[in-house]
Structure formats: C-alpha cells, structure tokens
C-alpha cells in the first residue's frame, strides 16, 4: 500500500499549527484578566491562523 505523497509533510505542518494555537490560547487564558490587550492580540492571531487552515490550501502550505 503506497502512502499518499503528502503524508509526512501534512502531518508535520498541522502538528506545528496545533502547537502554535495551543501555546497561544494558553497564553491568552493566563493573561485574560491582567492584560486584555494582549489577549485581544492572541485572539486575533488565532483567528487568522485558524482561518488559514479553514481555507485548506494544503498545496500552498506544503509546496
């Protein structure tokens, strides 16, 4: 059974996205009360990154 050509790259790319989002949301939750401006920036950054994943341009990400 031949794996799909993008198996490793897609897995690595999405893993990095998830780690980034988890770190960002964690930071936002830690500072939601003492630094709302930072939290708003985190939410904006997460919105942009998740939006890119929802756009689903896998070929653009990987090649």
């Amino acid at each position: 059974m031949e794996p799909h050509a993008d198996t490793e790259q897609l897995d690595l790319f999405l893993r990095e996205v998830v780690v980034t989002l988890q770190a960002a949301t964690g930071q936002g939750l830690r500072h939601v009360h003492d630094d709302p401006a930072l939290t708003d920036k985190v939410i904006q950054d997460c919105t942009e990154l998740i939006g890119q994943i929802m756009d689903g341009d896998a070929q653009g990400w990987l090649h």
Partner: protein, 239 residues
C-alpha cells in the same frame, strides 16, 4: 480477528480495506467539519474573551484530531487535503452541512453533537486496525479533549437554560434542532453495512444499540436542565 498493522494491509481482505478507508475518511471529515460550522461566526462573537479562547482552543483540538485520522488515511493512499476546504454542504454527515451562528447553537452542539463524537470514538476501542485502536488507548488525548468539548457545551447549555425566559426558549430551540440531528448521526437501524463494520472489528455496537445508549444518557441531562426532551420520531431521516 487479529489486529492488523499497516504492513498487513496489502494482504487484507478487500472489503476490510474498503471499510477501513471509508471509516477513516469519514472520521477525518467530521473532525474538520466541526470547526467549519462555527469558526466564522462564533469565534469573533463569543460572549467573553475566555469564551473566544475556548472556541479557538476547541478548533485547535479538532484540527489535531483531523491530523491524527487523516494521517492514518494518508498512509493507506487517501488524499485527505480536499476535506480541509470542501463546502459544508458536501460533508459526509448531515449534521455538519450547515452553519452555527448563535452561541446557543454552539453550546448545544458541544453538549449533544460532540457527545456523538465520543460515541464514535468509543467504537474504535480495541479496533482491528491497530494504528486506529492506539489513538484511543488510555490515556487518550483525543478522548480527553472530546470530553472537554462536551463538558463545556453541557455547562453552557445548563447556564443558558437556568436564566429562564427568552434565554431558555432559545436554548430549547437549539436542543430541538440538534437532538434530532444527533439521533440521525447513528444511522439507520438494522443497517447491513453497520453489520459489516462490526464483523471486521471497526465498530462495536449496532446503530440502534448506540442510539439507545445515547438517549438513555442525554435525556435525563436535558430534563435536569428544566428543558424538554424532543420527540425522537419527528424530523428524523434515519430511524
């Protein structure tokens, strides 16, 4: 049957390989289908910064779940990239063919539909395809995260119901909609295909067994919130 590893797939029964590819593709589709339903409208409008961060974290976890099941499908030669961006209207499961634009719908989606997600993951406990079974071995990050989504949705649903008045009416309407979607997600009772998934160790319960267990679990929860359990026979596509 004995558990199979990836290296065993080349000599496996063609029906088994076909069903395995199908279940992995559908699972990946459902995982990424969730965020597609709610990200556009709910992330910017969630009631508080904490809620916005929880929505973002939930989406991140579902993207990770997609990654895990997508990888298993990719290893079998399936291209799952198209699942990332296909229109909601083309999702395999009808519950994902729409859009969530209210906080009430997001809460009830977590309460009722992410719970179906847990039921589906439970079908893979001890699955005949070892890489799939390993994702669900305790402690399973996927199961823990899904439990978090369910808990958040259940808590928010109960809070909104407890407010009474218009809030309770809105949440009841959301329950009325998603409860029927949830019951249909179990598929047709007496399904021959379901029997084949069970035969090959890719499913543990019949559709009707799982649906009844789900109803036994959620009906008391709905009632404990002072809400009405919808009629399980109205608006259904798969009985």
């Amino acid at each position: 049957m004995d558990q199979l590893e990836l290296k065993d797939i080349d000599t496996a029964d063609p029906e088994y390989v076909d069903l395995l590819k199908r279940v992995l593709t559908i699972q990946a589709d459902c995982e990424i289908g969730g965020p597609h339903l709610y990200i556009k409208d709910i992330l910017p409008t969630a009631p508080s910064r904490i809620d916005q961060l929880v929505v973002a974290r939930t989406a991140a976890e579902e993207i990770d779940h997609f990654r895990l099941f997508s990888r298993l499908a990719n290893e079998l030669g399936i291209d799952t990239a198209p699942l990332l961006s296909k229109p909601n209207s083309e999702r395999f499961v009808s519950a994902f063919r729409g859009r969530i634009s209210t906080w009430e719908d997001f809460a009830v989606f977590g309460f009722l539909i992410d719970r179906i997600g847990r039921y589906q993951l439970e079908e893979f406990f001890g699955a005949s395809y070892a890489p799939l079974a390993r994702i669900l071995e305790q402690p399973s990050k996927v199961m823990e995260e899904e439990a978090g989504h369910i808990d958040f949705g259940e808590t928010r649903t109960a809070e909104l119901a407890a407010k009474g008045g218009e809030s309770k009416e809105r949440i009841q309407r959301a329950v009325d909609y998603w409860y029927v979607q949830a019951l249909d997600m179990f598929g047709q009772s007496g399904s021959a295909r379901s029997g084949r998934f069970i035969h090959w160790g890719l499913k543990r319960r019949t559709n009707e067994q799982a649906r009844q267990q789900y109803m036994d679990e959620v009906n008391p929860l709905i009632e404990s919130m002072g809400l009405t359990v919808p009629d399980p026979w109205i608006g259904r596509k798969y009985l």
